[in-house]
Symmetry: C2
Subunit: 233 residues, 2 copies
């Protein structure tokens, strides 16, 4: 499907580029839609595209030697993934799966590399992005160190709360929340355990489900306290 420069400029990382560059990139890019569960990027393959997420939620997943699924990170709209090859021409290290129906824009790596030559700014941006990824992986790893299981779940949930609500501790909504299973593999837990934690959070009226696509966070302050371990579940 055709990509317009306007679509590309919806992404914070591309927005600063001049219109001419955006037009050129747009011509070489394509919109790709995936159904829930669709494989967006394949591990071990030299994917020659960077995948920008327009709508929906993605999850980076890997598999252990014995076939167990491991959740690595979530990708939110406006962000991108699969950019590692931009730096080292290596293969994509992990799978990226669509958690919901998604709309993505695939931009060829080679075109992006061309653009970085003309616009070092983009290179800088990519570097910052990669640094952010390292910081996020590090944070996620620390999370796994928590011996208290409910705290782990609450921390993960906390990371899914929109920024503004995190600031003001207002009630908020998480759109298309991951399933219990998807959370479980991120946290090295079983699906049942995550389910039991949610059960407690719901009876305590800290969160409330509203269909599959909405999770209301009613008591943001309580969630924060639980995430920080200041309160036990």
């Amino acid at each position: 499907m055709q990509v317009t420069p306007e679509l590309l400029s919806a992404f914070p990382s591309l927005k600063p580029l001049p219109p001419a560059t955006l037009s050129r990139l747009a011509q070489e890019s394509s919109v790709r839609k995936f159904a829930r569960r669709g494989v967006v990027l394949t591990a071990g393959v030299r994917e020659e595209f960077v995948c920008f997420l327009f709508e929906g939620r993605l999850q980076g997943v890997d598999f252990t030697i014995d076939g167990r699924e491991v959740g690595l990170y979530f990708v939110e709209p406006g962000d991108f993934c699969g950019e590692l090859g931009m730096f080292d021409h290596g293969p994509q290290p992990e799978f990226v799966i669509a958690l919901t129906a998604v709309v993505t824009v695939f931009v060829p790596m080679e075109s992006l590399r061309q653009v970085t030559l003309e616009h070092p700014m983009l290179l800088k941006l990519l570097g910052e992005r990669l640094a952010a990824r390292v910081r996020q992986l590090t944070r996620q790893r620390s999370l796994l160190g928590l011996p208290n299981i409910s705290q782990r779940v609450c921390c993960q949930l906390w990371l899914l709360v929109p920024d503004d609500a995190r600031q003001n501790l207002q009630a908020s909504v998480i759109n298309n929340p991951p399933t219990h299973m998807e959370i479980a593999i991120m946290l090295n837990l079983s699906r049942e355990t995550v389910s039991r934690v949610f059960q407690i959070l719901q009876t305590r009226q800290i969160v409330r489900r509203d269909g599959t696509s909405l999770l209301h966070v009613s008591d943001t302050a309580a969630l924060k306290r639980l995430a920080e371990g200041k309160e036990e579940l």
Copy 2:
């Protein structure tokens, strides 16, 4: 202490730089030695140096909210750490601790940034290095997904085996191996559990201790099979 250009060229990442550049960098750099347990980089601080490791072994560590220690990665001689700020000017995300007495070279970030302007090659190299770090963090995360504890320990041990021995499955030696505790925090295990796994590995004559500073890997093939889950301990 004074740094010579020769010392700097011992690092694969700096070796390709022209002698004049190396001399300039050498003048601005300093050798710093740390005792075992010394704090090489501090979390949360904007460290204005990239730390190149000449001798010994470092460990990146973080702490969970409840104070539990979490091991993130090991740094081997020839490699460097603390480079994240080069990309985003952000604070150092984790502590870096000396596992043995170490000799490091601290190169000011600002000098390195200057060099990247003249030598895009270095920029490319730094990018590749950061990408490698992401790959390593990802691999380490997958490791934690392993439900079998001894496999986890064997995998980690396998990563410490020198490259050439990994290829040829020859007997080899791990210098200054991490303590059981240091391995434990990398793998989300208790010290005792690691100790028990080592006990089995030793009675099976797969590894052999030789003082504090040497760990002989006698049966590399068996270690590999255990790491891959092809054999149970």
